[in-house]
Subunit: 702 residues, 2 copies
Amino acid sequence: MDTSLYFLLGFGAPVGAAIFAFVLVRAINARSAGSERMQQIAALIRQGAMAFLQTEYKVLAIFVIVMFGVLVAFLPGDSLLVGVSFLVGAVLSATAGWVGMRTATGAAVRTTAAAQTSLAGALQVAFSSGAVMGMTVVALGTLGIAFLYWAYGGLDGRGDSAIASLLGMSLGASSIALFARVGGGIFTKAADVAGDLSGKVEVGIPEDDPRNPATIADSVGDNVGDVAGMGADLFESYVGSIISSVALAWALTPVVATDLWGIDESAFLDLQGDLALFPVLLAGVGIVASMLGTFTVRTNDESQVQNALLRGLIVASVLVMLGAAALISQTAVPWAVLGCVLFGVVSGVVIGKITEYYTGKDQPPAAHIAEQSETGPATNIIAGLGVGMMSCGYPVLVVCVAIFFSYQLGELYGIAIAAVGMLSTLGISLGVDAYGPVADNAGGIAEMSKCEPFVRDRTDALDAVGNTTAAMGKGFAIGSAALTALALFSTFQATANNTVAQAGGAAVFDERLLGLELTNPNVLIGMFIGGMLPFIFSAMTMNAVGRSANEMIEEVRRQFKSIPGLLEGKAEPDSARCVAISTRSAIKEMIVPGVLAVTAPVVTGFLLGVSGLGGLLAGALVTGVLMALMMANAGGVWDNAKKLIEEGHHGGKGSEPHKAAVIGDTVGDPFKDTSGPSLNILIKLMTIVAVIFVPLVVEWMR
Amino acid sequence: MDTSLYFLLGFGAPVGAAIFAFVLVRAINARSAGSERMQQIAALIRQGAMAFLQTEYKVLAIFVIVMFGVLVAFLPGDSLLVGVSFLVGAVLSATAGWVGMRTATGAAVRTTAAAQTSLAGALQVAFSSGAVMGMTVVALGTLGIAFLYWAYGGLDGRGDSAIASLLGMSLGASSIALFARVGGGIFTKAADVAGDLSGKVEVGIPEDDPRNPATIADSVGDNVGDVAGMGADLFESYVGSIISSVALAWALTPVVATDLWGIDESAFLDLQGDLALFPVLLAGVGIVASMLGTFTVRTNDESQVQNALLRGLIVASVLVMLGAAALISQTAVPWAVLGCVLFGVVSGVVIGKITEYYTGKDQPPAAHIAEQSETGPATNIIAGLGVGMMSCGYPVLVVCVAIFFSYQLGELYGIAIAAVGMLSTLGISLGVDAYGPVADNAGGIAEMSKCEPFVRDRTDALDAVGNTTAAMGKGFAIGSAALTALALFSTFQATANNTVAQAGGAAVFDERLLGLELTNPNVLIGMFIGGMLPFIFSAMTMNAVGRSANEMIEEVRRQFKSIPGLLEGKAEPDSARCVAISTRSAIKEMIVPGVLAVTAPVVTGFLLGVSGLGGLLAGALVTGVLMALMMANAGGVWDNAKKLIEEGHHGGKGSEPHKAAVIGDTVGDPFKDTSGPSLNILIKLMTIVAVIFVPLVVEWMR
């Protein structure tokens, strides 16, 4: 293959995306930021969000430095390269979060301002902001991988240990992602729950009321949870899937390649080199396709917002397939691999559609829950949990079909490529997703700055679509996490085999510590422990939300009591203090689950060998995906059942069924925004930790 | 080994237990059945319960006949023997349910009558009734196995295919158990929820009020769910664990035995014969130990009821260990196997204790949920789900420890023996557990027949202890289900290996259809599907409760409207009609989940081979156990948090926190009494279906 194609797509495309993002930011910033009051509020939100990121990044810096030390000191082989890759992954993930958040906080107020003039303008600003996040993630991800792969000598056509050290980048991205998702998730829901309970319930002022000291914290939470957290999550999937495809390409053997694709064995080395480059090239193609897709997202008709967004996504998907076909025609990559890409791209869209069915406001499940609210909160909750559990069925089957056929077409490499395919349009799909919190914040700003009602109506129209796209985005995030974790799991197996072969072959080891058969008790024990971790992890994060919310409720009560004139609207609340409390407790609460995720695989590996570790990953993968789907979809559908009632069904706002639905929605909050999404990262992080540390485990087992 | 020991323990002990149960029934029936009003009510409950069983058994008879035909027509080898074993298992399970239910419905009213005189008498009656259930289950189980094993020539010292056909008995027991648990679970919770919502909430009459047409149905439900359902569940575990130990003993190879126990290879055949008999003998020892244990359950002091029950359990456990040691000294069974028994017995007690902690009324988790009720139902629900998820941790670790060490001591056979050990004291532990619903019903009868308040106080004291023992019993049921399913899973592997060897060895087959490594995509796909099934199954059963409850609510409303004088207490409700509705809808609703459980493994096997089937079982085992623990414990702790508030904490009865806690309790009802317990059986049933049908799958794969 001509390496100029590599530089064009691996460097050129992401640099182009970065420039595109920069132009978008300039265009957003050139717009009016609205009245002074709006700017003040926006400034408070941005300060809060940035203060959270700063505090979080300080803690993460310590973690990253310690982890870097551990990697370099203890890992055998090219440990320094692993460490460097780790740093690159961590820094890029943090950078993407930073850029996305700065953009989102700047864009929200401009969305409000634009909504004063037209819906089209408001959509433009909000979606541009999402696109900046999407483009930044894919640009930094692709550029980082392309650069390291080149720097480590990947273009020389050898898959040596330097190439394997690229996996460190995935570890770096995962670590940041876990803390960002958990910390951000706790922050956003603690602020949300505290704001609702102390404001709406206790003193009877409406949501987003400027008198409530927790209101700003709530808006800050939308940014740190839904923008930075989601971005870090998908950055990790993106990077993980590409890197594991690269690693699995180099783990292919001539026999497998010949069996699969009937190639001539003499052509194998060329083929392998091209297969290793293909995911990076595909990422580049996806970036270009996503950029082109964004140009089609435009409408001035309220009812068409969702279609406009979907149109962009579908255009990008079609372009990716065409680009992938063109790539394959230029390289030694077999056409069967195109099938894997197709299964990935289609599965992502289908899972999104299924999620839309189970969570959508105008779909039967939401109507069922709304109806069950008639008999009170208990039946609402039971129905919501039932829908959540039921909603696991089809997405899992879709993932199974994708696994089955990608494996047929390309073995483990095929599964990894399906994951890359699914994520190739991330530039635009993340944009569609990250637009939601901007629209949400824009509505909050409109409320707090007392804009005309029609402004809020317009932002609400954007926000309603945002809820659906957010649910679809979550389904997509889980689906891609499942495939990525599976790709990483395959990499784990390849790495383990490799390390064992270097250490003298399987015969040197106790079979019970090495075999991955279900007959092996260590595998079963590992599966039980791994399966249990998502339950424990969810419990921890849900409890953390409760504790943090309680702390903030006390602060809000204190302010209502001690600041004279606050409730009458004559004095300003000390919202910075609420933000600080939420920040402190979110950071504190993210540490235990985070450390658990990193240490559990290592400890299990040392106790139960590769067998136990493999079992742990498989168990965590299965229950993690299921619990994530269940929690995300239950949370989404509770929210929309409430919205359905608010539209006037079953008695409408303020009725008993509505109260029941509000309770369901509150239960769903930590489900869908804290615990559920964190599980995506838990399974990816544990797998990549296993990949990185399996050489140590093997050494220990001897 | 002297075969007289086999006849003594395999036939003598269960016959003794049957006589003991008969004496207990006579003693119960000899007691006063109270006033005419009490007897009327009791008769209604018994009629309802028996009518339900009759209807259920009619449907099951069709299922059993069809299944018998399928087994005999399609299975290769001794298919007729498998069919006969299947019939025996099904008939014995149904018989045990019938006896237990007749006894329980007769004992409840006599417990009420005895409570008019003394607490000791009431405890005696209620516990005796539970003991009858326990003794009937172990007597029928042991006798059935011992008889078939003898009839199939097991005492000749050959483990041929006739012995393997014994597994059919486990399939029979499982099939009845699933339908009994699901049907009974739907009945009991539909009646409970409907009674609460239509009576307490809509017309404001108290629980168990005789004017409510659903009250009798609610009492019937306690019997069909908690007595018949629980009995069938544990009958299945009991039979499954014993039979799989027998099968695994015959699957042992001289190499494994020599490795494990350092025996002389020439002694292997003797050893194998004794190992195969050992589980049956151990069951006999357990029966004797349980009988002796029951004599220590006696107290006249309210605060000592729980201790009295525990004392019986612990005495029985110690006696089992002594008896097992005596057995081993008389046979060729190695002493290491005693360790497996010990791990089983101890794990059962420890899991019970952990469950007591997570669900107990006076423990921190219940207090935490009660406190969270202060901020409303949403925080109550979140806290309950959090406790439920968290409670999965330690029990799973205990199971893992038991697996690890039993495997060390006796390989797969050791795991199966641990399950037998855990279940050996079932005669008394099921008695302790089945006593709860009798006490509960006794309270209901006291209320409905307007007894003096002190009578209700005494039955309440018994009932409160019943709640704790019920939660412990559920933990025990899940723990034993996990070990039994694991033992059956090992049998599945042994059977698959055996069939493959007969069909020409592994080389004849596609590795992807046969291998059980986690690297095999079919295994992973199977794991995803298997892992998903408990979620789908739970959703189905929860929704079924909702639908059935709605149907009954409408009937209750109709009666309140159309029967003049009903609300004033001047007319009798048509409670038989409510029972009929609940029966009809429970039977209707149990069919789809039941058929799903039976067909899913078969279809997966045909599509994805032994690999996919093995993956399915492993996935279902892991998520099934976790979901069952989560749901049972969350349900239990919600119930007790409510009781804690009712004792006067956080505002007491009628306060806002109490209302929140009632909502949590209602959500927990289908969790702990329908969906959660059904999962135990789901995983066992799917595994035994796989064991039975794997020869067909292997044939198809060729």
